[in-house]
Point group: C2
Chain length 555, copies 2
Amino acid sequence: MSTTSDGHSIFERDLEPNAANHVPLTPLTYLAWAERVYGPRTAVIDGPQQFTYAQMAQRCRRLASALARRGIGKGDTVAVMAPNSLALLEAHYGVPMAGAVLNALNVRLAARELAFILDHGEARVLLTDREFSGVIGEALALMQGSRPLVVDIDPPHVDSGAQIGETDYDSLLGEGDPSFDRWMPDDEWDAITLNYTSGTTGNPKGVVYHHRGAYLNAAANVISFRLGPESVYLWTLPMFHCNGWTYTWAVTCAGGTHICIRRPDPALIFPAITEHEVTHLCAAPIVLNMLIHAPADVKRVFAHRVQVATGGAAPPSSVIARMEEMGFALTHLYGLTETYGPSMLCAWQPGLQEMPLEERSAFVARQGVPHQMVSDLQVMDPMDMSPVPADGETVGELMIRGNTVHKGYLKNPTASAEAFAGGWYHSGDLAVVHPDGYVQVKDRAKDVIISGGENISSLEIEEVLYSHPDIVEAAVVAVPHEKWGETPHAVVTPREGAELTAEAVIAWCREHLAGYKCPHYVSFGELPKTSTGKIQKYVLREQLRGESDEADNQA
Amino acid sequence: MSTTSDGHSIFERDLEPNAANHVPLTPLTYLAWAERVYGPRTAVIDGPQQFTYAQMAQRCRRLASALARRGIGKGDTVAVMAPNSLALLEAHYGVPMAGAVLNALNVRLAARELAFILDHGEARVLLTDREFSGVIGEALALMQGSRPLVVDIDPPHVDSGAQIGETDYDSLLGEGDPSFDRWMPDDEWDAITLNYTSGTTGNPKGVVYHHRGAYLNAAANVISFRLGPESVYLWTLPMFHCNGWTYTWAVTCAGGTHICIRRPDPALIFPAITEHEVTHLCAAPIVLNMLIHAPADVKRVFAHRVQVATGGAAPPSSVIARMEEMGFALTHLYGLTETYGPSMLCAWQPGLQEMPLEERSAFVARQGVPHQMVSDLQVMDPMDMSPVPADGETVGELMIRGNTVHKGYLKNPTASAEAFAGGWYHSGDLAVVHPDGYVQVKDRAKDVIISGGENISSLEIEEVLYSHPDIVEAAVVAVPHEKWGETPHAVVTPREGAELTAEAVIAWCREHLAGYKCPHYVSFGELPKTSTGKIQKYVLREQLRGESDEADNQA
């Protein structure tokens, strides 16, 4: 090493960071940049409301200023209960611009869950869209801590729901100074948002994001999905879901346009696509299914191609094919609340478009490779943290490391320590690595079925079930079995009008799976889901246990 | 603020960074990512040499390992004297992977300047392309410090130049371990490269880049120029110039392909564009001029569009028009060694493409708006650091702040302190802000002509001169004048075969400029340039002073 007389490298002398060359990373700078570079361009359209970047930035500064004047500052939580909308988008800037932490609430939650979150997150302010005043009123009554300042959001195109707040959003903005000198984090590690996991079991956990991670994950989205100033992003994915996988900031980083719709309803989605020439959207496969099965008078034909990022479940080949026919191009993503949304994507490779559909679907069914700016991602044996071989068969736990992994769980150091054990974020998902390096998630660790000593992936059975032309939805869980310990039980929602028997379903599985993997039991009905649309397997297990208890009682 | 019993915000408790969620930003991860996601795709083509990302990553690990085995580590400088080539590209990864600092040398420098840089940067290893063994041999002899380990780079398609090293590049790679566990910075503030300014006066200064800035500026390039895995980047801009404006890392971040050519020669550029379907290149306007004026048998017709980033001087309308006719689309950039290259770009706005050429040229002649990831950029009065009004007329100094501003000057705390005074990087460039917020650089602070108390921008006169159909190059400097204090003197290089008189040039200026701005004197000839192609106005001033002394003597 080249050293100077004091023993330091020549590169460690007189080259300390200063205000000119070291600035905390924060997505707040994306809005400042968009205002400056694309000030007159349309930033956001929400029904009859439409604002340029110059206007939106001014509104966000008003919000920050109004919050600051009401005593909200660093470390305070501001909760928002709203669908994808102007106010919720603005809160992604205005709240952190005041130094506060944004907690976007899942609008599908029940009052009890909302009360828990408002208490746990210690919300000092709650912005709430009129549409949800009923459930919010109940939640406020159920709270144990002190009531936050309640601000009604009252969009001009919504007329349902009472006003329950001390003031309303427009009045709050009116209190603020449009030239407010935005707060900037001293440290990019400062918290920016708080996102509660949907919690398939127990109380939801509060996942804390920091400015650095939000900045980087948004940039990674811009890079992966090639967003630019002409991009038009349709808000089908909820903004309360990982801050819309950080697209709330990414679209602004690119100088693109946000189009808000209040529900991911085909009757809103198709007209928005044609009217605004939408270029990008994100949606769970269930929304894609709704688009495919939308009535003819709702569907629209459009000449351009819409890029769709989908995640939460692998899109089946029929979905890929029918979406492509309608003008969409799919990319399969994998993400978690704990990773700011996307942490893997099934990156396209040369020649993929020319592959036969079945082969292409098999390719796209994998979750893929690390998202840009994820530093490392491995499938490992959690016992010794050794990576599994890339054989497409050996199952390990998916572990992630990088700047787009959350800070930890709020007021839950035990859960944080468990999640970060060994210096990796433990996703709890079981996966394999294929010879081409692409990762495929096989199951949640706790959803594996152990039958006769063999591990059976419930996802693998579900994929076979989904490929049946008469099955719309399916879930497989373990049920106790005298001989095998556990055995798979499938619950299936058939296509309307289809005549499907348990025998036919089992026969279909026998055609496509090893015998020991085939469900012993099949039942039919609706599947229980979380407010974010995830199937609740623990509820299914309880229901099935109840049924078997009843059966026992009857026997 | 929500506080816990110890007085901290709830977001400041038990949420410290750990190995899972905080990783230093470094462009080394871009190569790791490209290897993993696009391993089998072509990373680089250099004449007959062509490697995939998997191969290139392996070669870079070999280089890092070989350097480490020879005792090179953190804080050591590795200099490289090479044209745009495989070895220089690999050094951008292999050198920092060993913890060392890359110093890419300007191949146009003279032996004395090279010796100064090798001494000042304390190079411990020097990789040197055979083509430059003559000047490097001289430089080594002129060095005052200890001789570095000299390694010849001996590309298969180059057969000029002696071998002067202790070993050669291929042998060095042979010493290394292809599975070397790459070094990663403990701190993203660690130095990654050292770039000497071309130094229009005095000794060159060593500008130190850090991993964080290199990572972010590369990402900003990917975002601004929409690089992706199908991008093919042609290396016309020297890699020794701000590490190729950080495209050395940006193209890899996108998973694109690097095409190396040893000289920015139209006879190499056109065939490379058609053969490899180049999508992007960067080049100074002088290279664009060379492309426009290339002989017909050198020019190639291609169907696709090539994105060109150009900087250093505003592209005149004739250049824009003729480049567009040939299939290129231009974006005007502004950058400095001190800002990792690009810190502004003339972002396109809707409707620009439909504007008449003259109007569009006037738009594009401005340097524009901050590059993505520049935190702030202002034109300010350096006396009180107040921003100038956006009137297109009031001149101030361009000041920049952000993570893509360099660490400082090596072993020169005085110059660093001056450059960073008041918490802004002082560019030394004088500029105005137009009403639309676009910045236009008017002159280097020291190149302003003060005539009769009026400031005259030499750039403004040069633009008028460049618009003359018979003028290829022009520079204007101040010369002393008895009455006015200073007055402009233009030195002009006419088009070959043109018959141009001083009177005609002055008449042209009178048509397009206020009278007091018109040059009093015009002379004809070649312009003195630095090794990076910048016109050396101080040399011109000396030459003109010499001439005027001679004139005095003759009088």
